[in-house]
């Protein structure tokens, strides 16, 4: 249904373009074409800044790559001789030129080079946390600018390459805009896109759910670099010239205004604002040009447009951060449900399995078969923060199928142990063995893949994403289709997506959140957020589940239900559970074995009964008299 509607609308668009091409004047057509090129660039830019939440300042550099690549391939040979009249052009570009029919090849080659550029900047930038991407992409843009100005045999320097045939007609421009928009929109709505949004919302939580931070950021950046370069190629073939001044930082600033105004994270917003921007630029040009009304002469003020734009940007960020569309995106389902043809809920829930819970997977069956063996072994873990020894020589074996509790006063180092197990911290000494491998020092996403899932004490949901999408971020781990398969919406991916959705809905049903699947996770009450964290952790198909204070903030009634629920989980998914909890009722009620930690040191271990009567435990909790 949606696909059919998309095809029909694209058809209608091209009929309109055909009409426009025959009836509108050159000026109007030129504005339209510019608008379409801006759409390609803005959609690409928003993928990195809005969807993935990484601040890139790179589009002008990538567009320059695409522009020059296109010019070098497409400029007719005679024109090449004419352009490089001072110094000869570099081989092999001085010996060939592609015919107009191969314009698309030039665009794609430019796009691939843009992606290569993105790879070169992305590798140093994404290796560590922080905002290095901003400075690295800016620096990259400057490097390209410097090269374009100086490598005269290659780029013809500041004069640029003139006389490019105007290949970027209205069909090429809008065709590219449609392709870029559909590709990016499909990608954003796919499992890959959800991983990107997960990173935007909470990098640490996303990584703990098995999302590879480096790879996912890189994927967004490569796609973005590709389309930015395509936009650069189109722009060159629209204005018939590429030169360093066409791709200055101003281009990036304009694109930034577009995506911020349209809404960071809204593809719909970028498309509409990009097109509107192209028109508005023409209108605003008036402000900088001198105006003569009869005898009255108003001098134009250089820079006034940029003053207005920059104030607009600041005001938007302070007062209207969501922009026109926030993170909302147009979809046919939305439209159809608005006009009452289908119900939105039906679309999303229909594929839910009726039995309520996912069937045990092959791995969980295997785990069950081996019950009794040691699943995880912590050996002599020690970690220091500055001078403070947070955990000291901590060892613990957890057997398959056990429910083990970790208790201790505040600040005893319990969560730190969880953070070591899941790879957020690397211990100064000691080892974590899990399911036969030494996972000490592994990246958190690899540990999640190995089968350890966690919840967070201080709740780290993806607040702006829907309840369902929160769970689906974890399901990304099981997706086998490639990014291209997903972005092209091929059947292989779509069936995987359907299965992931039905598994996710089943998990939501299990924690009692199925009816709230399209609510924003950040809007849920506290107790339900904790439930959602559990569902999200289960969606990684773990063997070991770490629960960090699952009962925090719950009333006695809820606490009781939680206890039954945790036991059910263990049995249904053949899980092993390791939990931190302050509610003694919970710990004593469900744990088979309890370990007590105080000041980073184990002080006791035993069954609930043994712990309750252990004098050292009582002393640690109630304090003991000095002496």
């Amino acid at each position: 249904m949606s696909n059919l509607l998309t095809v029909v609308s694209v058809g209608v668009l091209f009929v309109f373009l055909w009409w426009a091409n025959n009836n509108l004047d050159q000026f109007a057509l030129r504005i339209m074409r510019t608008g379409a090129v801006y759409i390609v660039a803005a959609v690409a830019y928003n993928l990195v800044n809005g969807i993935t939440g990484q601040f890139s300042l790179g589009p002008n550099g990538f567009m320059a790559i695409g522009g020059y690549a296109m010019a070098l391939l497409m400029l007719p040979l005679e024109q090449k001789k004419f352009v490089w009249f001072l110094e000869p052009q570099m081989w092999p570009f001085n010996s060939f030129s592609l015919p107009g029919a191969l314009f698309v090849v030039a665009l794609i080659v430019g796009g691939l080079l843009g992606a290569l550029g993105a790879l070169i900047v992305g590798i140093p930038s994404f290796r560590l946390r922080g905002d290095y991407l901003a400075i690295a992409t800016f620096g990259f843009g400057e490097i390209i600018f410097v090269l374009a100005n100086n490598l005269i045999p290659f780029t013809n320097g500041p004069l640029g390459i003139k006389g490019i045939p105007e290949y970027a007609d209205i069909y090429w421009c809008f065709g590219s805009a449609v392709v870029a928009t559909l590709f990016v929109k499909n990608l954003v709505n796919s499992s890959y896109g959800r991983a990107m949004k997960g990173i935007r919302e909470d990098e640490i939580a996303a990584e703990a759910m098995g999302v590879s931070i480096f790879r996912t950021k890189m994927q967004a950046f490569l796609v973005s670099g590709f389309f930015a370069a395509v936009a650069g190629g189109l722009l060159g073939a629209l204005v018939t010239t590429v030169s360093p001044s066409l791709f200055t930082f101003m281009m990036t600033f304009n694109l930034l205004i577009i995506i911020v105004l349209g809404g960071l994270g809204s593809i719909t917003g970028s498309v509409i604002t990009a097109f509107g921007f192209a028109v508005a630029m023409e209108l605003l040009r008036v402000m900088e040009a001198p105006i003569n009304i009869g005898p009255i002469h108003l001098p134009g003020i250089a820079g006034m447009r940029m003053v207005i734009f920059s104030v607009l940007l600041i005001v938007l960020m302070i007062f209207w951060r969501r922009g026109l569309f926030g993170q909302w995106d147009f979809s046919w389902n939305w439209l159809l449900s608005k006009i009452g043809i289908t119900s939105k809920a039906a679309e999303a829930i229909s594929p839910v399995e009726q039995n309520g819970a996912p069937r045990p997977t092959a791995t969980s069956v295997r785990a069950e078969a081996q019950e009794g063996g040691v699943l995880m072994s912590l050996q002599n873990l020690t970690i220091r923060f500055g001078g403070l020894v947070a955990v000291s020589d901590f060892s613990l074996d957890i057997k398959k199928g056990e429910i083990v509790g970790l208790i201790g006063p505040n600040g005893a180092g319990k969560t730190t142990i969880f953070n070591i197990i899941t790879g957020q911290y690397t211990p100064d000494s000691g080892h974590v063995f899990f399911d036969g491998s030494d996972i000490t020092g592994w990246r958190p996403d690899l540990i999640a893949r190995a089968g350890i899932a966690r919840t967070f004490q201080n709740i780290r949901l993806f607040g702006e994403l829907s309840v369902l999408d929160n769970v689906l971020v974890s399901e990304h781990l099981g997706i086998k289709s490639s990014l291209l398969t997903a972005a092209l919406g091929l059947p292989r991916y779509l069936s995987e997506e359907r299965e992931a959705r039905s598994r996710a809905m089943a998990l939501l049903k299990l924690v009692g959140l199925a009816d709230l699947y399209d609510v924003q996770a950040g809007a849920l009450p506290y107790g339900q957020q904790r439930q959602l964290e559990i569902a999200r952790a289960l969606a990684t198909h773990p063997k070991l589940l770490l629960l960090d204070e699952p009962a925090a903030g719950m009333n006695p009634e809820e606490t009781k239900r939680l206890m039954t629920f945790i036991r059910e989980l263990r049995d249904r998914f053949s899980l092993t559970i390791f939990l931190i909890e302050h509610h003694m009722e919970v710990v004593m009620g469900i744990c088979e074995r309890i370990r007590v930690l105080d000041y980073g040191v184990s002080i006791a271990e035993g069954t609930p009964k043994e712990i309750q009567t252990n004098p050292r435990v009582i002393a640690a909790y109630l304090g003991e008299e000095e002496g």
């Binding site: 990484q54 901003a134 003020i301 940029m306 003053v307 951060r321």
Partner: protein, 297 residues
């Protein structure tokens, strides 16, 4: 290259490097406290030079008084930028703060273009800076000697504030953990304002000295020094003040020596600095002195 030219180039590199260092410190202090790249910092540098210019050219004040007033006024501008633009987005997603900072940067530049015009203005430097001094066989402009000396004095003063005063202790506390510092009863807003004031004052001092060294000022003069100083802060280890100084000197030296030893590459000098940045991020991502931060989970 003969000894004479070498000494001249070394002094050039040293003075340019000290200027980068002065600007880089402002970046690194703000980043250390707010995790914000203050893109407008390079433009604050420009504001400092213009303030001094106006005090001298329009109000006819003595040069040194003008410089002091300009530094004070620029510190106020820096504080206002924080108060008006950055404070409202302090708790917003990080990208909103970065976009705001870029907006402020463009605003200051273009407001400058609109109000004082794009035409460069000649900056009057005091006699003492304009002299030519002999170092061994080399004739060196006095400004190239004054700039490193004054920079070192300013940095010592900054170090004193940061490590020997209560306000400095509070700044260090905020950079470690803003929430806990608030709970300890410190007025975090005031400390952040002070950070901006100090950073802006140093940038203004840098701007004025820059204008003494290259006595042509225009509203866009802060862009490249700003970006290169930020590069210096990253290369030195972002958040680390000593690192920013080392990074600044390194960048200044590399820039001057590239041109001195390979005149053919002078067109590429900006490209070389940013390539150095990419290489640093790849090989030593935490910079010369920075350490990777353990993020609280």
């Amino acid at each position: 290259m003969n000894l004479e030219a070498l000494i001249q180039q070394l002094m050039n590199g040293l003075s340019l490097g000290s200027l980068y260092a002065l600007i880089a410190i402002g970046y690194t202090m703000v980043y250390g406290i707010l995790r914000l790249i203050n893109f407008a910092h390079g433009d604050i540098f420009m504001v400092g030079a213009y303030c001094a210019f106006f005090f001298v050219a329009i109000f006819r004040l003595p040069w040194f008084l003008s410089a002091l007033l300009a530094i004070g006024l620029t510190a106020l501008v820096g504080m206002s930028v924080e108060r008006i633009a950055y404070r409202p987005v302090r708790n917003a997603p990080r990208i909103s703060a970065l976009i705001t900072a870029l907006g402020v940067s463009f605003f200051i530049e273009n407001l400058g273009l609109v109000t004082v015009g794009a035409r460069p203005k000649a900056f009057a430097r005091p006699e003492i800076m304009a002299k030519i001094v002999k170092i061994g066989p080399a004739a060196v402009s006095a400004v190239s000697i004054w700039v490193p000396i004054l920079s070192v004095l300013l940095l010592l003063a900054l170090m004193y504030v940061i490590y020997r005063t209560k306000a400095g202790m509070a700044m260090r506390a905020v950079s470690t953990d803003i929430e806990t510092t608030r709970l300890m009863g410190a007025d975090v807003d005031r400390i952040i304002a002070l950070t901006f004031a100090l950073g802006s004052a140093l940038a203004a001092a840098g701007g004025i000295m820059w204008a003494c060294k290259y006595p042509q000022i225009n509203p866009l003069m802060g862009i490249y020094p700003g970006w290169k100083a930020f590069t210096a802060a990253v290369v030195g280890g972002i958040g680390n003040i000593t690192g920013a100084m080392l990074g600044g000197l390194l960048i200044g030296m590399v820039e001057i020596m590239t041109v001195a030893f390979f005149p053919g590459l002078s067109g590429y000098r900006d490209g070389i600095i940013f390539t150095l940045l990419l290489v640093f991020l790849l090989v030593k991502p935490t910079g010369i002195l920075g350490e990777s931060l353990k993020e609280k989970v």
